[in-house]
Every structure is written in structure tokens, then in C-alpha cells.
């Protein structure tokens, strides 16, 4: 066996090293509290943030021979330069989540299990890495499971809270259900072709005649399974409850990192495996209706939400619709738009969650009317929240408008003009509910507003990263230009 193949997996290896170091560090740093004594916090959070930061910087952009497509282990592992970019985006997102988690993990209930949070989260990231770089359905499935099963533990992390445990149970059940659907779809595909390698599948699925129906069925089940992960309507039913029950930090992680990686993988697999013209037209039709349903229904539900975490859940579903809009047609332009959208959505959404989290940690309040008059007491937070919400709604000069513009442009170019029009009309609806929060903070008066407080240093760093992204990622066009150099589409 050629051991140099491992060198192609340097991102995975580097992350694995980070995980092992944190594991050992946690072992030595945390002390078991003595009988009758309160648990003490450890500095493991700092270690995790620094290590992940180093890992992120080391693997930030494709270099040193990783600019081209490489295949290892007989096609099980495939890597393209674009995947490095996506993994970098996931890294940054996870880093921001780690930074904002510090205050929450410092609570007395959580002190004893600080290290576990970082470990579990990084394991899911590792799973996403393998899922992204997989060249074989088995590899893909292992990555997917590694990325979703530990998430249930994260969702139920606040086990002293009834809702958190309930959300964890809901999440694991539906995640398994969707995995089963996906596996069934894959098994049908295997039944037709007798292989699970993406490249071979792509070649063998071209020009099917007698087994076309079976292939379409497999494709449908595959999309349904992925739809659960990305939480597209009608596979979104777990989202609101899970997001509401999970700790706010984990909700942020779920709504950005986990969802974003799944959307990217959906695109690459569809492009590679189901590249046949007939099949491509099938999945384009399927995605068309999924997108219309996701955007519209999620928007209508979001308007009525009073709990901000639930609200963000529906907002995330509708944003997922926009994300998948870039998949339509499977073009190189779409891929750039998707990755760029992911980046911009991540900073804006995590910015909102960082603020929700810090307010919740300081006052325990999460409802929309709790934010009435926030501007009076915490003007800076209200201002940053406004920037992030504007970005989510797609208001220039913030990055959100650029990313939406590019996604719509890609879908328009792929020939889905009316879909773009529907999506655009929906951005107006989404603007309405984002403005409701702005209205609560700036215009509504409250007798009992969230009291003024100072955020901790970690949250500040997280907010700086997010707001810098929101303000700069759009205006400085370099990001899009750079990502575009690595994009590839279907032939």
C-alpha cells in the first residue's frame, strides 16, 4: 500500500490531530470535583479555540499540490480545490461557534463537560470533511453518520433542561429515519449498477432505459435523505422543535455548518453521479418544487414565530432554499454562488446567534418581545444585530445582497427565471420578518428591557469575525473572484 496517499488527506489528518490533542489536554486539565464542591471551569476552551484557529489558518486555501483534483484509496477519497475552500468555511464557522460557546460552557451545570463539547463538535466536523471528500457511497455514508449522530448528543447537551433532551431524541430519530431513506435509495442505485464508486456510477447511469424508473426512485430517496439534513420543506418538521430545544450555540452550529456542508455535498453528488441528461432534468424538477416549498412555507411560518430560536429555524429553512437554488442546473457559476452564499450566510447567521446566545446567557430571555427596547439598553448589540439581519435579508451594502444576487444570477443563467422571480418575491416577505426584530429593538418601547451588560471577550471576538465578514465580504469582490477560480460544473 502506498502510504503517501495519506498526504492527500492532510486536512482530515490535521483535524484529527487537533481532536487528539484536545482529548489529551482535557484529560489533564479538568479535575474531578471533590464531594460537595462545585465544579471548576478549565481553560480547555482557550486551547480548543487556539488549536482550531491554527488548523484553520494552516488549511485556509488550497496550496502545495492541492490545487488540482486528487484521488486516493482507489477512488474512495476524492479531493478538489473547491473542497478545501468549503472545509475552510466550515472551520471558520466552527471556530465562531467555539468562541461564542465559552460563556455557556462556563455555567455551573456545564463545567464538568466542557471538553466533551469541543470533542463532539470536532468529530462532526471530521464527518463532514469525509462526506465532502468522499468518492464512494459507503465513505459518504460513514461521513454523514459521523456528522449527524454526535450532533444528537450536542442537541441534548443541556440535559438538565427537559426541552433539550426532547430535542435530542427528536433529532436522532429523524436523522436515523432520513439515513435509512438515503440508504434505501443508494441500495436501489447499487442494484442497477453494481457499484458504489461515484465516477463509475456517473458513467453507468447514462442512457438508462429499462431501469430508469428505479434510478429515479433511488434519486428521489437520496434527495429526500439529504433534504432532511438540509431541512428542506417537506422534510423540515424536526427543525423548529430541535432548534428551539437545543442550546443556542448548538442551534447556530446546526443551522449553518451542518446544513451548509450537506448542501454542498448534495450538489457535488448530484453533479457527479446523476449527470445523465434525463436524470438531471428529474432532479432539477424535484429541487425546483422543494425550493419553492421551502422558501414560501418557511417564510409564512417565520412571520408568526414569537420565540427567536424557532424564528431562526424557519429563517434557516428558507435560507436553505436559497442555498439549494444555486444547485439548479449544476453549473460552475452555481457552485461558486453556493460556496459564496454559504460563507456569507454563515457569518451573518452566526452573528445573530452570537447575540441571541449572549443575551440569553445574561438575562435568560429569548422571546421576540424580550428584545423590545434593546437599543435603549444595549445599543451596540442592537446595531450589530441589525447589520447581521440586514445581511440575512439581503440588503446592500452588506454581504447578503451580493450572495443573493449571485445565487439568483446563477439560477437565472441556468434557465430558471420564474423560480428566481418566486424566490425574489419571497425575499420581500423575509425582509418583513427580519424587520420585525429590528422594529422590536429600535422602535418598540418596553417597561422591562434586557438590562445593560458587557459581553465576554470570546463573544466579542466572534462578533468581530462575523461583522467583519458581513460588512467586507460583499464590497470586496475578491472573495467571489477567488472562489470562482476553483469552480467546476457538469459538462
Amino acid at each position: 500500500m502506498d502510504y503517501s496517499q495519506f498526504l492527500f488527506m492532510r486536512e482530515e489528518l490535521s483535524l484529527l490531530a487537533v481532536i487528539l490533542i484536545i482529548f489529551l489536554a482535557d484529560l489533564f486539565m479538568s479535575k474531578e470535583p471533590k464531594e460537595g464542591e462545585a465544579a471548576k471551569g478549565s481553560k480547555i476552551g482557550l486551547v480548543a479555540c487556539v488549536l482550531l484557529g491554527i488548523h484553520t489558518l494552516c488549511n485556509l486555501v488550497p496550496c502545495c499540490g492541492m490545487e488540482r483534483e486528487v484521488t486516493a484509496f482507489g477512488g474512495m477519497y476524492v479531493h478538489t480545490a473547491m473542497m478545501t475552500i468549503v472545509k475552510s468555511i466550515l472551520n471558520v464557522g466552527t471556530l465562531v461557534v467555539f468562541l461564542m460557546a465559552n460563556g455557556w460552557l462556563g455555567r455551573e451545570e456545564n463545567r464538568v463537560k466542557q471538553g466533551e463539547f469541543y470533542l463532539i463538535t470536532l468529530f462532526t466536523v471530521l464527518g463532514m470533511y469525509f462526506m465532502i471528500s468522499s468518492g464512494h457511497f459507503l465513505m459518504f455514508f460513514i461521513g454523514l453518520e459521523l456528522a449527524s449522530v454526535p450532533l444528537a448528543a450536542l442537541v441534548a447537551f443541556d440535559k438538565w433542561r427537559y426541552e433539550s433532551a426532547e430535542a435530542g431524541a427528536k433529532f436522532i430519530l429523524l436523522a436515523l429515519f432520513s439515513s435509512a431513506l438515503l440508504l434505501y435509495g443508494v441500495s436501489l442505485i447499487y442494484g442497477i449498477t453494481g457499484t458504489l464508486y461515484f465516477t463509475e456510477l456517473g458513467a453507468m447511469l447514462i442512457g438508462l432505459n429499462e431501469n430508469l424508473l428505479l434510478a429515479v426512485l433511488g434519486l428521489t430517496l437520496f434527495i429526500a435523505g439529504m433534504g432532511f439534513k438540509i431541512s428542506l420543506v417537506p422534510f423540515h418538521l424536526w427543525t423548529a422543535d430541535t432548534y428551539e430545544g437545543a442550546p443556542t450555540v448548538v442551534t447556530g452550529y446546526l443551522s449553518v455548518v451542518s446544513k451548509g456542508s450537506a448542501a454542498f455535498v448534495l450538489m457535488t453528488v448530484l453533479m457527479k453521479v446523476f449527470a445523465d441528461t434525463t436524470l438531471a432534468s428529474q432532479w432539477n424538477i424535484g429541487l425546483f418544487w422543494l425550493i419553492v416549498a421551502s422558501i414560501t412555507i418557511a417564510n409564512i411560518f417565520a412571520i408568526q414565530q414569537k420565540n427567536l430560536k424557532r424564528f431562526m429555524a424557519f429563517s434557516a429553512i428558507s435560507q436553505a432554499g436559497y442555498l439549494v437554488l444555486a444547485v439548479m442546473g449544476g453549473t460552475a457559476q452555481g457552485m461558486t454562488a453556493l460556496v459564496y452564499y454559504l460563507l456569507v450566510y454563515m457569518v451573518a447567521d452566526l452573528g445573530v446567534f452570537a447575540i441571541l446566545n449572549v443575551v440569553e446567557q445574561h438575562s435568560g430571555r429569548i422571546r421576540m418581545d424580550d428584545y423590545d427596547g434593546l437599543y435603549e439598553t444595549n445599543p451596540k448589540l442592537a446595531f450589530l444585530m441589525t447589520l447581521c439581519l440586514f445581511s440575512l435579508a439581503g440588503i446592500p451594502p452588506f454581504a447578503g445582497m451580493f450572495s443573493k444576487f449571485f445565487v439568483f444570477m446563477a439560477a437565472f443563467n441556468a434557465g430558471y427565471q420564474w423560480l428566481v422571480l418566486i424566490a425574489l418575491v419571497n425575499t420581500v416577505i423575509s425582509l418583513y420578518y427580519y424587520l420585525l426584530i429590528v422594529k422590536a429593538m429600535y422602535i418598540n418601547k418596553s417597561e422591562n428591557p434586557v438590562p445593560a451588560f458587557k459581553s465576554d471577550g470570546y463573544t466579542k471576538v466572534a462578533l468581530v469575525i462575523c461583522v467583519a465578514g458581513v460588512v467586507l465580504a460583499g464590497i470586496i469582490g475578491v472573495g467571489y473572484n477567488y472562489i470562482d477560480t476553483f469552480a467546476y460544473g457538469m459538462e
Binding site: 425575499t427 420581500v428 429590528v438 469582490g477
Partner: protein, 506 residues
């Protein structure tokens, strides 16, 4: 950097300055300094433009272009023609006077106000569709907070309605931009390139134009208060704080007309020729309906807001006539309406700040109590109804003369219907003046009110000066505008109307 970018750079510097200063004096200093620089820059630009225009007959002058998002052919391109210079001048005047009118406002107010003006200036200097669209939206969103936080009356409702309707318009617009971009070959976003089919652009197929022209025109038309998308305008203007009403009615609504002309009609000429009649009917309704609605209102701001609908309708009416005279008149109408409405809203704000009511039934005899404001109000009213010597007369006259050049019944009928709005305007303006300003004061609370302060007088006098100047010496402005209008109108007129689309032309 091209020097046109000053118009965006100065507001950005003002934002920075506002962020740094601490007290009210500092805020005022930053605002006055910044808006004066903008005004001077606009004046200098006008002189430079006229000089350059005499020797250079390129369509856009002072152009510059920087690559921005290369894979999608998006550039930051700037350039001006006669129309945009006139609009920049108007915006500079309104921002300058608006600063004085909102003398006592706080820092956040001015932050959003300045962001809004950055968007407006950026819109008028850009000749790249993406840049233009971005600045367009930058100018829209601050309105939400400006009205929602600092407004009066049903401000939350009005702010939300205004924002959503305008953003709805811009959603159609974005689709229209994609339609134009990909219809023309997807190689350039530059407006002039697409129109002249240079740099890889080809003619947009006719059926594509027929789909995207109505959407683009309606998208901009929402901001231009096109019937039936005008309903945000009365509520929004009535609830907005004074300077915001000024800026919004004075400048922002012009973005609509400007965009309709420069993007929708110029880039999709065949669409404009074939389907323009639909919008011509709608603007005809706007003109007459707005004037009639103004007659029955009792709130000063509502009266003026409906009057704006009627006068902005004339702008679109003029450009849809697609001839040199009417389109020039439409652009002069943009200037004229911008100045008069700004003056009107400034005065209404000042009166409201004193009487705390805008209901004309509760006010009378203000001429004795606040003579300066009352006299200025009369002047504004007369300018608005198109008295010769003021800008309104020049503008409306030119539009209707141009419109009358069309000899067919369809255009004649609409022109005559549009002309009636002049009479109706006279009705509501004179009724208002007679009721509110003359007569004896019946409300004793109003007897002890004071007249305008120095900064208010200064703002009002500036505006009246501009209106009178435009009315007395319109030639240099209309010549300058004419040079900008000519290439666009000529370009559209090289395409022949397909009369079968218009049931009224058969």
C-alpha cells in the same frame, strides 16, 4: 479613483465623522461641512461638464471603470450625462437644505440620513447595472428606521409598508436586470455598452424584452409612485420626519423615473415601444387621480404627498412620450418637483413643529402669526401649480407641448386628461392657502407661536432661490438635460412601434 466617486466618498467620510464626534455641535459641523462640500462638488461638476460637453460628444463623460467581480462581468463604472448632472445638483441642494431643516436631530438619525444620501449619489453616478442596483437599495433601507424611529403618526405601519413595497419593486427590478444582462449576451453590465451593443453585447431578443420590460419598468415605477403601486407614498411621506420627506419626495422618487428611462426604456427600446402604452395609461391615471385625491385630504402632508403622486406621474408621462421635448420636460419636472416638494415638506414640518397639528380644519390665519413661513408657503403653492416664473411652469409646459406632438387619438386623449391636472392642482393649492393662511386666527393656542429660526429661513430661502432660478432661466438647464436626453430618445426611436400590441391605436 475617478473624481465622480467623491460623491460617494464624501458621505462615507461623513459617516465616519459622525461616528467619531460626541456632541450636537460636532454633528452639525460634520453635516454642514459635508453637505457644503457635496454642493460645491455638484456645482463644480456642472461647470466642468458644460465645458467638456462643448468639445466632447461622447454619451457619458468622465467615465471610469474598475473590475469588481470579474467572473460575472460586474464592474464599478461611473460616468455622467446631462440628466445625471442635473440630478446630482438636485440631490446636493436637497441634502444641504435637509441638513438645516433637521437641525436638532441626533446622531443616529444623521447616520442613516447620510447613508441614504450616499445611496442616492451613488445611483446617479453609476452606469453599471449592478452598481446602480446596489446603490438603489442602499438608498431604500435607511428609510425604514428614519420613519420608524423618528417619524410621527402611524409611523410603524407606514415604515413597513413603504419598505416592503419598494423592496418588492426592487425584486422585480433584480429579475429585470438579469433578463437584460443575459438577454444581451451576458458579457457586460455596462448600460452604454448594452444599449450600443459594444463589448460583446448584442440586441436583446424582442420576446425577452416583452417579458422583462414591464417588470423592470414597474419595479422602478413603484419608487416613481406609478398607479397602482403608489400607496406607500402618502403614508410614508406623511409619517416621515421633515428632512426625510424632503429627501424622499425630492430625490428618492426621482430614482424611479431616472431608472425607468435609463434602464427599462433605454436598454429595452422595442419593449418600450410596444408595451409603453400600458404604463402611459397608468401614469395618466396617476396624474389625474393624485390631483383629485389631494383635493379631499385634510392633512397638510397627505395633500402634498398626493400632489407628489400627481407630479411624479407627469415625469413618467413625459418620458413615455419618447420624444426630445417631452423627455426633456420630464427631467426638468424631476428637478422642479424635487425642489418644490422639498420646500413644501420643509414648510409643513416647520408649521407642524409649532402648531402640533397638520389638520387644515384646525388652522387658520397663520399669515399674521408666522408671516415668513406663510409667505413662503404661498410661494411654494404657486410654484407647485405651475405659475410662470417658477420651475413648475417650464416643466409642465414642456411636457405637454412634447406630448402634443403625437397626433393620434390615444396620445391626444391622454395629454388632454393630463392637462386637467393643472386645474385641479390650482383648486387644492388655492383652497389650502385660503383656508390655512388667510382669514382670522380661530385657534387661540396658535396665537403665540413664533416665526422661523435662522437655520430654517436659510434652508427655505435656498430652495426658493433655486426654484425661481430654474423658472426664470431654464435654458441652460434644459440645454444640458437635452444633451443627455437626445441619445436615449434617438436610440429608442430607431425602433418602430408595433401598433398591434396597443388596442387603442387601431
Amino acid at each position: 479613483m475617478n473624481f465622480l466617486s467623491i460623491f460617494v466618498a464624501v458621505p462615507l467620510l461623513m459617516l465616519l465623522g459622525l461616528w467619531l464626534v460626541k456632541d450636537q455641535k460636532g454633528i452639525r459641523a460634520v453635516m454642514v461641512a459635508g453637505s457644503t462640500v457635496l454642493l460645491i462638488a455638484a456645482a463644480v461638476l456642472t461647470v466642468m461638464f458644460l465645458k467638456e460637453r462643448a468639445v466632447n460628444d461622447a454619451e457619458m463623460l468622465f467615465t471610469a471603470s474598475f473590475d469588481w467581480i470579474k467572473p460575472l462581468h460586474i464592474k464599478y463604472s461611473v460616468g455622467v450625462d446631462g440628466i445625471s448632472v442635473a440630478m446630482l445638483l438636485l440631490s446636493a441642494v436637497i441634502v444641504f437644505t435637509g441638513t438645516f431643516v433637521s437641525w436638532d436631530m441626533n446622531k443616529e438619525y444623521f447616520l442613516w440620513f447620510t447613508l441614504l444620501s450616499a445611496g442616492v449619489f451613488g445611483f446617479f453616478i453609476s452606469i453599471d447595472m449592478f452598481t446602480m442596483f446596489m446603490f438603489y437599495e442602499v438608498a431604500l433601507i435607511p428609510m425604514y428606521l428614519l420613519i420608524g424611529v423618528w417619524g410621527t403618526g402611524k409611523k410603524e405601519y407606514a415604515a413597513m409598508k413603504l419598505t416592503l413595497m419598494l423592496m418588492g419593486g426592487s425584486a422585480f427590478l433584480m429579475c429585470g436586470i438579469f433578463g437584460i444582462f443575459y438577454g444581451a449576451g451576458g458579457l457586460t453590465m455596462n448600460i452604454v455598452d448594452i444599449a450600443n451593443q459594444t463589448n460583446g453585447a448584442h440586441a436583446i431578443p424582442v420576446q425577452v424584452q416583452h417579458i422583462w420590460f414591464p417588470l423592470t419598468f414597474a419595479g422602478f415605477g413603484v419608487l416613481g409612485a406609478l398607479f397602482p403601486f403608489h400607496t406607500w407614498s402618502p403614508d410614508g411621506h406623511a409619517s416621515a420626519p421633515t428632512a426625510v420627506s424632503m429627501l424622499h419626495a425630492g430625490v428618492l422618487m426621482k430614482l424611479g423615473g431616472y431608472g425607468c428611462f435609463r434602464i427599462a426604456m433605454y436598454l429595452m427600446p422595442q419593449g418600450a415601444q410596444d408595451l409603453g402604452w400600458i404604463f402611459l395609461i397608468l401614469t395618466g391615471i396617476s396624474v389625474v387621480y393624485g390631483a383629485f385625491s389631494a383635493c379631499v385630504q385634510t392633512d397638510l402632508k397627505y395633500i402634498n404627498a398626493y400632489s407628489s403622486v400627481s407630479h411624479c406621474g407627469l415625469v413618467l408621462f413625459g418620458i413615455l412620450m419618447v420624444n426630445q421635448v417631452a423627455a426633456t420636460g420630464a427631467v426638468i419636472q424631476m428637478l422642479s418637483h424635487g425642489l418644490t416638494t422639498a420646500l413644501f415638506f420643509a414648510l409643513i414640518g416647520m408649521i407642524y413643529g409649532r402648531t402640533h397639528t397638520r389638520d387644515i380644519r384646525e388652522m387658520s390665519g397663520l399669515m399674521r402669526i408666522m408671516p415668513f413661513l406663510a409667505v413662503c408657503y404661498v410661494i411654494a403653492g404657486l410654484a407647485n401649480l405651475g405659475l410662470p416664473g417658477f420651475s413648475g411652469f417650464v416643466a409642465e409646459m414642456t411636457i405637454f407641448v412634447g406630448a402634443f406632438e403625437h397626433a393620434d387619438t390615444f396620445h391626444r386623449f391622454l395629454t388632454i386628461a393630463g392637462c386637467t391636472s393643472i386645474v385641479i392642482t390650482a383648486v387644492y393649492i388655492l383652497r389650502l392657502v385660503g383656508k390655512v393662511l388667510y382669514g382670522t386666527a380661530t385657534n387661540e393656542h396658535h396665537l403665540h407661536l413664533t416665526d422661523a429660526r435662522w437655520e430654517e429661513r436659510f434652508a427655505v430661502i435656498c430652495l426658493i432661490f433655486c426654484i425661481a432660478a430654474l423658472g426664470c432661466a431654464p435654458l441652460w438647464v434644459s440645454d444640458m438635460i437635452g444633451t443627455g436626453v437626445a441619445p436615449i430618445v434617438d436610440h429608442i426611436n430607431t425602433f418602430v412601434t408595433n401598433a398591434s400590441f396597443n388596442p387603442f391605436m387601431k
